[in-house]
Symmetry: C2
Subunit: 420 residues, 2 copies
């Protein structure tokens, strides 16, 4: 990033003892980094320290030397652990003063909640002389903006919801005034092929993208979904490369941006006026829960069965007892019968049935932990297949089974056979 | 932490461009911080920088000045982006040399995978003169341990699975030789009361704990579960305070450490030889999925119904059509009928039924987004109650409904009435 001017670089400073003990994963920094990157602000460093004054002074001193924009999170509450006000006063060399307007805003906020402001909250209206108080639309802790040396420092609350609201209200507009948005990003989401296989298949395109000095290409894998990320200054050029990749990958690429398999599947069902039911054993409700992350999914998803025990499979999905006795619940015959039962009972257009061994126990040489059977399809037209997921733990196996099932339904809705 | 000797303090240094763009949440640092805190090593700061040599040099220089233990993650791969080896050589002032033993280990690892080592991987056997190569039991990238100034630096791979394996193999034993484990921690988990109410109720005990200079008390809220954390040098003293808190809170405190409501509930059912079924509308499988995070939960959980549509509720759980027509799916009458239907169909001992408005649409002045009805109990002995969760988004409402339902079952299993 050597060509980016200094004032378009940022340092993130996360504070709080709970970040130093591993009690809390710092999701703020990743969220902020994503926003800043999209706004073309390069993040030079992230610093994280606890609520110790000398560590805070060290970190802030480093931060304002390294970048023109410093975003600090945390330490704005009313207790003695909340050192951000004192920190900004120390590093800027300016005394704290009570800001009457800020005090009124805090009082108003308490008033709206039907509560009376406690005296201790008055301290939250204190900001260094010459700094600007930033109103908090969703909480009691106001933020602070202050110029220190060549840097502009924004101090925001540590609570993610409040931090996000204040970033949008105060920081984003400030940045947009200074950086014309000329970086474009396209993220192509893929499912059904591994990261290294994708990179190998696309080697030639990737090389052409990377040979353009202004363009970048990267991948990111999250469970069974791989994101291919293209960045560059010209939207049409990126779009051309993106379409080339999507054409080459065909149905492997299922969407862009923040889309999800659940969203694509519900959209396809909605377009066709069709419905899907689930019969879940090892995933035990995760597929239903995932489908219903999409608002309005009730139009395509009447419900399903969490058929965890063999008896439940037999009684409510009519899985024949001989199937369970001869082949077991983790078998092609069982998932087929589960899907048939779900279709017959519900009259839905499509069914997904899943049964597998999520571990840690219950595996055998023939049926190891990670083995999952799937049946996906329509009445009289069901496809059965299996996967053996790496044994990366019970929840990872179940998550991958859920996404694999949704992807299989997506492919069948597109009239493409899932790979056996 | 002013009394802790310098060599028992650590700085974490996470590297990689993907951490600077928000494409990846740094889970390594939180995991490492947790381990180090439990090992009584105070984490003074976390630094995160991208794969730029000058930023890496800055961060490493800061790190070795601040603490006696520095754990760096990332940058050990074979590509030109992997700068950790060059960084350690630069900051230590010692040239890189190829370590023949390390080379043999890397070759062996490839051999075990049935693959041939590529020439590019040879660079991974290069470590600064005087440093020690650390074998990687689960990957190709060896780690490095090196003394720079007064600090010991461990460089570990960035892939979480490899990082964890190498921490356990190389770093933990090194720390244990230097720090007798004399800090104890107790974490008391609570559900059914808010964080500020808990702190108010316990104000007197908390004050007594905090008046002991060696003891500390903190809280952490995660959805509907609040953890009360006590830390101190003497196990019996902590235990006494913990029991006092647990006695005062009664059934509000449901467990300790890493326990979950699902674990406690399945354990109670297991002890009684009883079973539970679910009838889920707005949570749509999340309760079943949560119960089955516990290995062996099949002994107490035969399954359930994801009764998302009204028709599904009527057809498979016998919710009377007049109930749906007169009161709607989000009503006390509906969840009662759902639970009764689930009990009758399954013959299970207990049932949980949930129906609510998760949003973002579908709310009204009488039934706002966040309103959720619950029915929990046994045949002829069901309790119905409702909650109105803050509208913090669809997934937060559903998560809180899931935990509230499990907590209600826990209380009923303990013969305690859930608060209406």
């Amino acid at each position: 990033m050597p060509t980016t001017p200094h004032h378009l670089q940022a340092v993130l400073l996360a504070t709080g003892n709970e970040l130093m003990t591993g009690d809390l994963v710092d999701s703020n920094s990743a969220w902020l980094a994503k926003q800043l990157t999209e706004l073309q602000v390069g993040v030079r460093a992230k610093l994280t320290v606890g609520d110790q004054f000398e560590e805070l002074v060290w970190a802030m001193t480093q931060a304002i030397e390294k970048a023109g924009l410093v975003i600090l999170t945390g330490g704005l509450g009313p207790t003695s652990d909340d050192l951000t006000r004192a920190l900004l006063a120390r590093v800027s060399g300016r005394p704290l003063q009570r800001d009457p307007e800020l005090l009124r805003e805090i009082e108003d906020f308490f008033h709206q909640l039907g509560r009376t402001m406690k005296p201790v909250n008055r301290i939250q209206a204190e900001i260094p002389d010459g700094a600007q108080g930033l109103s908090n639309p969703v909480g009691t802790a106001p933020g602070i903006r202050i110029e220190i040396g060549a840097a502009t420092v924004f101090a925001l609350p540590g609570v993610p919801r409040e931090m996000i609201a204040m970033f949008e209200t105060h920081v984003r507009p400030w940045i947009l005034q200074r950086t014309p948005p000329t970086t474009h990003r396209i993220s192509i989401l893929c499912c059904g092929r591994g990261e290294s296989d994708l990179v190998e298949e696309l080697a030639e395109v990737i090389e052409r993208i990377r040979s353009c000095p202004e363009l970048s290409f990267g991948t990111r894998a999250s469970d069974s979904v791989i994101a291919l990320k293209l960045t560059g200054p010209r939207a049409d050029e990126l779009e051309q490369f993106a379409r080339e990749i999507e054409n080459r990958l065909g149905p492997i690429a299922f969407g862009r941006g923040n889309s999800t398999l659940a969203e694509v599947v519900t959209q396809l069902l909605f377009q066709r006026g069709q419905s899907v039911v689930v019969a879940e054993s090892c995933t035990a409700g995760e597929i239903g829960h995932e489908i219903t992350t999409i608002p309005g999914s009730s139009q395509v998803f009447p419900g399903g069965w969490i058929s965890y025990s063999n008896e439940f499979k037999h009684r409510f999905l009519d899985v024949p007892q001989p199937v369970l006795d001869s082949f077991g619940a983790v078998s092609d015959a069982c998932v087929l019968a589960m899907a048939e039962g779900a279709l017959q009972q519900s009259g839905a257009d499509w069914a997904i049935a899943v049964s597998g061994i999520a571990g840690p126990g219950g595996g055998s040489p023939e049926k190891p932990v990670g083995l999952v059977y799937f049946a996906v399809g329509q009445p009289g037209n069901l496809r059965v297949f299996k996967r053996t997921f790496s044994n990366l733990g019970r929840e990872t196996i179940r998550r991958r089974a859920t996404l694999t099932a949704l992807n299989a339904l997506r492919l069948r809705l597109l009239n493409i056979e899932p790979v056996e």
